[in-house]
Amino acid sequence: MYIDVDNQKTYIATGSREHVEGNLGMTFIHGTAMDHTVWTLAGRHFARKGLNIHALDLPGHGRSEGSVIDTIEGMADWVIQALDATQQEKTIIVGHSMGSLVAFDVAARYPDRITTLVMVGTSIPMPVGEVLLNSARDDLHVAKEMVNFWSHSKSAHLGGSQVPGTWMIGKLQRLLERSGPGVIYNDLKACQDYTSGIERSSDIKSPTLLILGEDDFMTPVRNSKSLAENIPQSRTVMLPNCGHAIVNEAPNEMLDAIATVV
């Protein structure tokens, strides 16, 4: 469904179910140059469980209008506007990759709005390689290939999708190719620049779940340790044989892990 956020037409996937007044909200935030479709399975699941699902397309992504926001903090502020627009006083917030930084920042700066934080495929800081960033800045197609390549574990490059008949590499590549000019650079740069986040870890008041892929090349597990150590109520689920694109590679394990905190 579409809502108005900051005078911009904004898309929210609801897990194919109508929201029920009074039910708890669950907000999903996608990663770099992606959109709400990465949350389809999880969104449908928790919608059936009675949560009001808000799988957002950030401004300039997917079906949402508007210009991209160039900082994680700015995206977090926008998410709060989206929560206000949908009358969500409190929400469970789930983010993947860049979206996990946005979710983290919301939970750190607006702790009263968040009941539970779930960070999927994450690390703080989230550095981006120079070659990738330069390719993205120049809007080269290879930047999308690099993100796709490094987002998947080595084994995922040979397939084995949990969703029958899906070629994960092809699907994510096409999704990235749908992003508009400059989007991938904007998002990668925002991740790169979010360096102060770790200092906000102790501000997180909500129970926090980190879902990490053991074979994550984009946000290697070693970079996630300080996050796990600094967030007061955090727990980590480590997925073996899984890369950064957990939403693609291990949707079932991700869903099971999230279900433990919902």
Binding site: S16, V142, G159, G160, V163, P164, G165, T166, W167, R174
Partner: protein, 434 residues
């Protein structure tokens, strides 16, 4: 400039879609000969039915062995996903039925496999779907044939039996200018010789019975989604964009993005039409894919020599193969099919139908049967067999004359194949003199 090094064709053709079995360590893809799958618990069962989890519910919809094949062909084609079907014909039908409603219209090349021609010309009109056939070399003809109710353009990469090469780059532009997809039957070329998505096609269908399985053992088909067509740029495809009452008001484009089409195929066509591929058949096709490039190279090198032999044979009126400079698509084939165009082609024998029958009956290695793409060489007389239901006019339009003989060149020793053909021509020459 930076470059991403991904797995190459021969690695994907052997491995894509499969991880060695965790329980047994089985290196080969196991054959999951089961109709259904035990749910972890009741809630997991409900989740599977509501597309909340990946996995299998019932083998009409998906099966672990078949899913490996679907992924593998998607990987080789460069698509987002695939659905396997019980035959190539089922793949063509299910792809069309997913996109075209009653009252819809198709623009198709007239150079098509006889079975596809039957479907478009005779059967689909019963359900209110009509087709305009166009000369595949008449690019403007495709544009002119498009009507407001046209929902797709259909063609074959290299047609059987006259080897017309479909100009995917040009015709895909026409399709996209009219906000309709180009559906390509890539049976004769396989992803080894051509990747239609790279040239502009949106959906690829295969009869995997042919070169993909490669041994004449298995009926199978595949529908592959390129994931590039923008279904939402037009209001022509409500089945993709609107809420689908048949699945709790699911909108396929909203929920599955680039995989909208193939998700609709699985959740409607596979579910409701039921033309699923048996897991054992999927296993046999998977075995075929492992040697695809090796076989295709041999098919092509043998074909090159046989075409040359036929072209110089006094008993042959004409040979239709893109290798030859007099073929209307010789240059196009060189551009689109640099590794070789096809191992299925035709020639005209002097003396017409009766002499052709003498020729065919004298062959020992070439088997007279209705198939192509076997490792073994095959021969047939299309006018009296595969294309017999076409009218005289349609046969003429498709360039299928009474004396036309179709060959599918196998991977035997080429000297033996040429000797076999030589024996056939000797008998034919003798009969011609009588």
């Amino acid at each position: 400039m930076a470059k991403v090094k991904t797995f190459e064709f021969d690695t994907l053709s052997n491995h894509a879609g499969h991880r060695p079995d965790k329980e047994t360590g089985s290196r080969a893809v196991p054959i999951y000969q089961t109709a259904s799958y035990v749910f972890r618990d009741s809630d997991a069962g409900a989740a599977m039915f509501n597309i909340e989890r990946g996995g299998h519910v019932y083998s009409r919809i998906s099966n672990p062995t078949t899913a490996v094949l679907e992924e593998r062909i998607s990987a080789l084609e460069g698509g987002v996903g695939a659905v396997a079907t019980s035959s190539g014909q089922a793949a063509v039908y299910n792809a069309i039925a997913t996109l075209v409603d009653q009252g819809g219209h198709i623009v198709a090349s007239y150079a098509l496999y006889g079975g596809t021609h039957n479907l478009l010309e005779y059967t689909l009109p019963r359900f209110g779907i009509t087709t305009t056939f166009v000369d595949p070399n008449d690019i403007e003809g495709f544009k002119n044939a498009i009507k407001p109710e046209t929902r797709l353009i259909f063609g074959e990469t290299v047609a059987n039996p006259k080897t017309e090469v479909f100009n995917i780059p040009e015709i895909s532009k026409i399709a996209h200018d009219h906000e309709i997809p180009l559906v390509i039957d890539s049976t004769t070329t396989t992803p080894y010789l051509m990747k239609p998505f790279d040239l502009g096609a949106d959906i690829v269908v295969h009869s995997a019975t042919k070169f993909l399985s490669g041994h004449g053992t298995t009926m199978a088909g595949l529908i592959v989604d390129g994931g590039t067509f923008d279904w939402e740029a037009t209001n022509k495809f409500p089945q993709m964009t609107d809420k689908y009452e048949g699945f709790h008001n699911l909108s396929f484009t909203e929920e599955f993005g680039p995989a909208a089409f193939i998700s609709r195929v699985r959740n409607e066509a596979a579910r409701d039409f039921g033309s699923c591929l048996a897991p054992h058949s999927a296993f046999l096709v998977l075995n075929g894919t492992e040697t695809l490039s090796v076989r295709m190279d041999k098919h092509i090198s043998n074909t090159n020599q046989v075409v040359e032999y036929l072209d110089q044979n006094d008993m042959v009126d004409w040979v239709s193969h893109p290798n030859l400079t007099n073929h209307p698509n010789h240059d196009l084939a060189k551009e689109l099919l640099p590794k070789g165009s096809t191992a299925v082609f035709s020639f005209g024998i002097k003396g017409g139908r009766e002499i052709g029958q003498v020729f065919i009956d004298r062959l020992d290695l070439f088997s007279n049967l209705a198939n192509i793409g076997d490792a073994k060489s095959l021969v047939i007389h299309p006018a009296s067999t595969t294309h017999q239901r076409m009218s005289v006019e349609a046969l003429e339009e498709a360039g299928i004359s009474e004396g036309l003989i179709r060959l599918s060149i196998g991977i035997e020793s080429v000297d033996d194949l040429i000797e076999d053909l030589e024996n056939g021509f000797r008998a034919a020459a003798k009969a011609l003199k009588k």
